[in-house]
Symmetry: C2
Subunit: 319 residues, 2 copies
């Protein structure tokens, strides 16, 4: 019965846009008007700062990745923290770039041997950690999972936002359980692997640089998302070797360093905030994105997919 | 009544995947096994061949765009043919590139004056041409629009494929009419415009280089898609000026020429085929893409969005 109640609550429509005076709202205006209390700080300890070698013009290239919070993919996220603390990625490369698909870096050897010894203590993570499952038998568990707002989804029963992240969910009446998983959207970072799901340690990562490859959901571990500097990956030349690997090793882009944000000097620690996805501002933002009424748009879409929502994230001055 | 009948037919499931011997099918294996009769030639007269200036390493950069067939956007497509025949784009530039959004070229002046005089005879196209509408009063019209296969869509009542193109459709019970329109997917080419829908002549075009911006559907004219060389646009540096325009004019990428395919010497005319979207092979391809069962995939998605289908297109030897 609890499952059915959950579904009924989910059927509530999105919050209507607030009444406006003057100009119709835009996604940007909703974000600009969001009160300070609707923003949440991102802990620098949850950021990976990846420095690529300077480009041909000598410009620095810094990519900042936010790691996924519990309960998702935490076995891999733990490995990634260990790899970063060991400075393991320093000296590895971005070695594979496929148009409308991914840019991939780290442990690029395909013969099963890592490019250099992995730090001790990495976990072998089972594929069960691709998802989080709550049983209707757990008192209150399903209630906790009620999304405040949700969007329709073609790859799940629905999608919602949890702590700023796009999450897909499906209810099984057979097992009386709710299964949820992080979605592959533009900028999502995942754990490359071989055929067996437990072969991905986290040493080899990719970022999505094209249309959301949602077929990868529940098949590869999403562990984070690029929140700044995705263009340093998305504009890289596409590889012409097998599966988009750079045919000429000279094309590989050296990674100077990857650090957890809290390993940097305090003045260098990147400070970001995301718009709380349980806030009125976010509900309004989704509504306005799905029903654009500013002068450029003549016909509101009347719908939106979870990867087109794009949770607002902003840089803030060091605290 | 006809409208309701149409919807009932649409509710048929996708064709089941054929029984397999040995390995499970992949999208690539379905395409490889498609009989010759399931492929359709693309007329070189329906292609735009855009030559960009060579890159910094001297490599040629050729982008090939297929123009959208009737009944969609034909006013703009006619203008684009006239602009190509006048060699109007020669000497213009790619001047705006926005990550996860578009690369834009052609008439880049923002003050309302074109960069050079436009050829005579271009049409001012009304926004009504963004869509195609069939009334239930037109005997048989709705029947003609029954998609053989369709996919669920979050931005319309459904999406289907017509002559190789992804098309979204909505039925209005009020007006007893069916409205259909081409979708914005990765690689789609559209007509940039100012606030008024009739301001886009076709001289200023963009290609989508990110997650499908479906909110642009019915708001801007889709006129084609890049079928080869999208990487020459998607890897361009992102603009740092207003709205992603290149701040330094020196960053603009010169366009050497844009030609209709049939203006080239016969031996230079690009030859392509697409997998007929009313074929058994295509139905099977969609089914297999939505339910991957090859060894890499542990959980089939069980769904697909129209922009993730990616109609197979292949180059063929000159006839």
């Amino acid at each position: 019965m609890r499952l059915l109640c959950a579904l009924a609550l989910l059927a509530l429509p999105l919050a209507p846009a607030f009444a406006q005076e003057g100009e119709p709202p835009t996604p940007a205006s909703v974000v600009a008007e969001a009160p300070a209390g609707d923003w949440r700080a991102i802990d620098p300890a949850d950021l990976l700062v990846m420095e690529l070698a300077p480009d041909r013009d000598g410009a620095e290239r810094r990519v900042i990745i936010q790691l996924l919070p519990p309960p998702f993919s935490q076995g891999w996220v733990g490995n990634i923290r260990a790899l970063a603390r060991a400075h393991w990625w320093d000296g590895t490369t971005v070695y594979r770039v496929v148009d409308n698909w991914v840019a991939q870096w780290g442990d690029g050897e395909d013969d099963g041997e890592p490019v250099k010894p992995l730090p001790e203590g990495l976990r072998v993570v089972p594929e069960s950690e691709y998802v989080s499952t709550a049983s209707a038998g757990d008192e209150g568990a399903i209630i906790l999972w009620h999304p405040r707002d949700y969007v329709d989804d073609l790859y799940a029963d629905w999608a919602q936002f949890e702590d700023g992240w796009p999450i897909a969910s499906a209810i099984s009446e057979d097992t009386r359980s709710l299964t949820s998983w992080p979605t592959h959207c533009y900028g999502s970072v995942g754990v490359a692997r071989d055929l067996s799901p437990d072969t991905g340690t986290g040493a080899e990562l990719y970022a999505v640089i094209g249309h959301a490859p949602r077929q990868l959901d529940r098949n590869i571990a999403v562990v984070g998302r690029v929140i700044e500097g995705i263009e340093h990956l998305s504009i890289l030349p596409r590889g012409t070797g097998e599966a988009g690997v750079y045919a000429d090793p000279a094309q590989r882009v050296p990674i100077l360093s990857v650090r957890l944000g809290d390993e940097l000097a305090p003045s260098d620690q990147p400070r970001f905030e995301y718009l709380a996805t349980d806030s009125d501002s976010f509900a309004r933002y989704v509504q306005v994105r799905a029903n654009r009424s500013d002068p450029f748009y003549k016909v509101p879409a009347g719908g939106i997919d979870v990867c087109n929502v794009q949770v607002p994230i902003r840089r803030v001055a060091a605290g």
